[in-house]
Symmetry: C2
């Protein structure tokens, strides 16, 4: 049977990529259909109950700046909010929130159900309909053919999904959900460049069996951060604490003893896992000198005792998981409610995609999310939004759009994927962005909302709020430029209090705000200075703009210089373990590949622009020196 209506955009899959894709296309006015296995699992978090973190928080803010739903949803579902790196520069500051899984699903589903132009249908997609090398629609498990101008596949970990626990394995999309077998077969027949990846999740623990008195408490931040540019603290549900514990020598012994039944080490798992979210058995093997790793015990919600032990993702056998968990302080009597497992699934080489996430082989077919070899909700959501946007632009006969690397993490993500491809599940880090001083969380809206509005993915009310904010910032910066402080104008004590010292010549407030120790709030406390802004987020923006103007300028020059260093040769005998600041993964890779030039090094997958900067610094210092030392 053929469904009577033709859609502009069909999105397959209701995970994080699929929901953003469907929402974006519908916001752009396209007649959009979201087809997914089960409407009950819309917005389901397959693994950790949290959103954001370093690099990822940046993506969430960008998604929000483009009108997406992730930030809004976590504002309604977040039970602990923190700003990571809050003591560091604003570029690497990142928001992270624990989610109540049930509330998160509800927040996503409510938005999907209420979005005009969007149809939801629960049905598994088994096949694609092609017309020559153009997509024409999809066929579901019920044999129904849905026609569409464009199709976005966001199948996550479901394509030929195979779950592993020890030597046991079973077909699944994730624990408890059926896999997508037929579609995987059909895609393989289409000769798209397919591969296998794997990812893992830790066992879940019954909180009633945890001895919290032995653990370190980790409260959320006060004041409580907010994710969406349009959000407020009042939207948050009740806030609660997380807890910290650690693995120990016994834990590591238990793991080593179980390795002979680990599917990762016995070759049962073919797919490659994420180096950056490694399983605990991976960590023990790779960092064999460390005898302890941190574990964050994260509550799964307000209304459940289940706890997510962040840091012990594993596919070891069930008995080893039990011993492993119970070897940890505070978890001596822990009851495991769900075993940890690894999942292997089909992904497609993203180098076969254009910047708009359209496949080069099949016109009108887009891929977004984990299917492109990434890992993480935020990476998936960001791609979903972009794919939804570009499918819509295509239907509208407009040019595709993708932000540049200096405009957004989203640009970095897409550029990395389509130019470098992946050799392991790709996740975002601030270190992947060479322009990261300008790609901050705080200015994501300034970077993207105007473009989003012009493209049609940002609605009127968000746009109005943005324009008002932008004007307020501009007005305030102008005002600060025009307000001059002259020596003797104010009592010395006030100046010392606010500036740390007196002034000997006249300065505009703008210039004074550039100084590292001077804050906007304290400047405004100077007698006779009228308070310019009440909204703290706008004030913060002004402060960062003014303070980092110089840095950003310098960064741009630095990047230009890097390009010149592209040809700089690297000595053969260098031991990268002595290069300060490099992560041990990067050190390993460089020692393994021994690249000849900086350019060569930069093209090795996993070697970030930040690592290249460190190398350049090292070379300047003279590596011989550090070798000898």
């Amino acid at each position: 049977m053929r469904f009577s209506e033709t859609f502009d955009v069909i999105v397959v899959g209701g995970g994080h990529a699929g929901t953003e894709a469907a929402m974006a296309a519908a916001r752009m006015g396209q007649k959009t259909l979201l087809l997914t296995h089960n409407l009950e699992t819309l917005g389901q978090m397959s693994c950790n109950p949290s959103i954001g973190g370093i690099g990822k928080g940046h993506l969430v803010k960008e998604i929000d700046a483009l009108g997406g739903v992730m930030a809004e949803a976590i504002d309604e579902a977040g039970i602990q909010f923190r700003v990571l790196n809050s003591s560091k520069g604003p570029a690497v500051r990142a928001t992270r929130a624990q989610a109540d899984r049930v509330l998160y699903r509800q927040a996503i589903r409510r938005r999907l159900e209420n979005q005009p132009h969007l149809w939801l249908i629960q049905q598994a997609v088994d096949d694609l309909v092609l017309q020559g090398d153009r997509i024409a629609g999809v066929v579901t498990q019920l044999g129904v053919k849905f026609s569409a101008h464009t199709v976005i596949l966001t199948t996550g970990t479901f394509l030929a999904g195979l779950a592993h626990v020890g030597n046991n394995n079973f077909q699944a999309g994730r624990a408890g959900d059926p896999p997508s077998i037929s579609l995987a077969q059909r895609l393989r027949e289409m000769n798209l460049p397919v591969g296998r990846l794997k990812t893992g999740t830790p066992p879940r623990i019954d909180g009633r069996s945890i001895n919290y008195s032995l653990l370190q408490e980790q409260p959320g931040d006060d004041p409580v951060p907010v994710f969406s540019f349009l959000g407020s603290v009042a939207q948050h549900p009740r806030q609660i604490a997380c807890w910290i514990t650690r693995t120990n020598r016994r834990t590591h012994d238990v793991i080593r003893d179980g390795l002979d039944r680990s599917p990762l080490f016995t070759g049962k798992i073919e797919g490659i896992g994420p180096r950056y979210c490694p399983s605990i058995e991976d960590k023990i093997m790779r960092f064999s000198d460390r005898d302890s790793h941190t574990i964050f015990l994260e509550p799964e919600g307000l209304d459940t005792h289940e706890v997510y032990p962040n840091g012990i993702s594993t596919s070891l056998p069930y008995d080893v998981q039990i011993d492993l968990v119970r070897s940890i302080r505070g978890l001596e009597n822990a009851h495991i409610t769900r075993p940890g497992y690894a999942i292997e699934y089909d992904y497609f080489d993203p180098r076969a995609l254009t910047r708009s996430l359209e496949t080069r082989a099949i016109e009108g077919l887009f891929f977004a999310g984990q299917i492109n070899g990434t890992t993480g909700y935020e990476e998936a959501a960001a791609q979903g939004l972009l794919a939804g946007l570009n499918a819509s632009l295509k239907v509208q006969g407009r040019d595709a759009w993708c932000p540049r690397r200096d405009e957004a993490y989203l640009g970095v993500l897409i550029d990395d994927l389509i130019t470098r491809g992946v050799t392991e599940p790709y996740r975002m880090f601030t270190s992947r962005a060479e322009y990261r001083l300008q790609l901050r969380e705080d200015n994501a809206d300034m970077r993207l909302t105007e473009m989003g509005y012009r493209l049609g993915v940002v609605n009127e009310s968000r746009w109005q709020a943005f324009v008002a904010k932008r004007e307020a910032i501009e007005t305030e910066q102008q005002r600060l430029r025009k307000l001059w402080l002259r020596p003797g104008m104010l009592p010395e004590a006030d100046l010392v209090n606010v500036l740390g010292k007196t002034i000997e010549k006249e300065y505009s407030l703008y210039e004074l705000l550039r100084r590292p120790d001077v804050t906007y709030a304290r400047l405004m406390s100077l007698p006779g200075i009228e308070q310019g802004l009440v909204d703290e987020r706008i004030a913060e923006q002004v402060e960062i703009n003014v303070k980092y103007e110089g840095y950003i300028e310098r960064q741009k020059q630095e990047v230009a210089r890097h390009t010149a260093y592209e040809m700089t040769s690297l000595p053969k005998d260098i031991d990268y373990r002595n290069v300060r600041g490099l992560s041990s993964e990067v050190q390993q890779k460089l020692n393994q590949f021994k690249p000849e030039t900086i350019g060569h090094a930069a093209r090795i997958s996993g070697i970030t622009p930040a690592a290249i900067s460190l190398l350049l610094v090292h070379l300047k210092r003279g590596f011989e020196l550090s070798e000898i030392k």
Copy 2:
């Protein structure tokens, strides 16, 4: 691997039977393990979002009287409460509530998570462990062996589940959830008496596409009813209305035109479906003279637009479903979010069970719920509770317990199952109970809570509340017996107002309350009579007790007489369509089988005791007469 601890009771499956079974066993202090596919689907309503109704409401109250969770959960999750048959006698009055699915799952899961002695583990069970003809445990998909003294299987529609939509079918436990294939195979190898049944569900509709202005509104009752004996209106979430519409000739034409692709009529489905919750295509075929059937549009929750169209359960092809729905008033533009489907699954002949729901073949193995050939959440939950209770009694070395037919619907249910077996999915009706005047919703606690407490399945606080209530009733009945009204004692106007007339001799208030038109509240309004009870539910109990004392007595005699009629012969040429009050199903069956005696008729499956009463009445009247008329 063998899990280190041994459990008293392992329950397989977290549906309605499984959750009550696990809770009951844990309340009895047994070390209990609940193993289920997915902790996210604990307490999931597979089909209609409602609890209760005629016969079913009675079971819910009995479950509650025995300390179960269903009534408490629906009090927290119910978004529309009504008392059906409220104008009829108290025996057939029944409470029914629409549920918010998400809140219902949460209410069940919260109770499971907080129940002492109960462990929850997410894992599929693939096999049973036997020691001779005794159960010893189960083996999960991960190859983990969990040992136990008793095991309760509550696998619902999952065993070898096969979903049908038109000519398409696919393996599933229900839409979106994987089936249980391995366990089904193993059970078949064990030579238990297996069969196939089927049940169906309607398509779901996006409420935004419904034209409510064309529909009849159906509000809940005011005052709002409460399900649990310990519950209160304050626990209910926001209350909303349902809506009523009807099928019409065009609907029926659409269905008839689609029958050639109906898996029910083309023989694709082998399993037998429930006559009493028939699919709409069944109804059209069986009642071909009717050109309209009622449809109740029931909201699926407070936070979703999805609507459940009660009355059009179907497994017709998807295109027919769309046309069918859109032919209905108010649904002209309806968007289907999930297709309706039928599901076929393995069940086991309940005649192979004892009254405690233990299998005769394998000691310590219990079956409860849909696996026994029943349909409905309430029937499943009731069996679950009984199985959990009896597994516990067995572990404790105590005698099994099952209420008699005159004590509880639960007794009727079990007795019907194990003596008659099923030929189609079994659901409860008040007509199945020959003692139904004493098996009322209102007195379920009086019938069962004391026994539940003695058995250990009712906790102390429920027991205390019950004892207080029972004493209050007893005290008040004594008081009413001792309060005498003599002619002339009160102004005539007052007497006429309350009793409808004056009195000529002295009466106790107890005697006066027996009169059909006299209510407790009005009796208490007589001048000089002190108000005895403030709690309305207790007052109602007193009123019913007093009023129906006589009826119940007479009913018992009636039943005794029935037994004598067992041998009464039935004329061969009787046309049962002329027997007043028989449902058309019963008429059909009797005309088909032409039983020789009343006893024979009574043993035909589907012929209820109530039908037998009607037959006896008919015979007394002289069937010849009615034949001629």
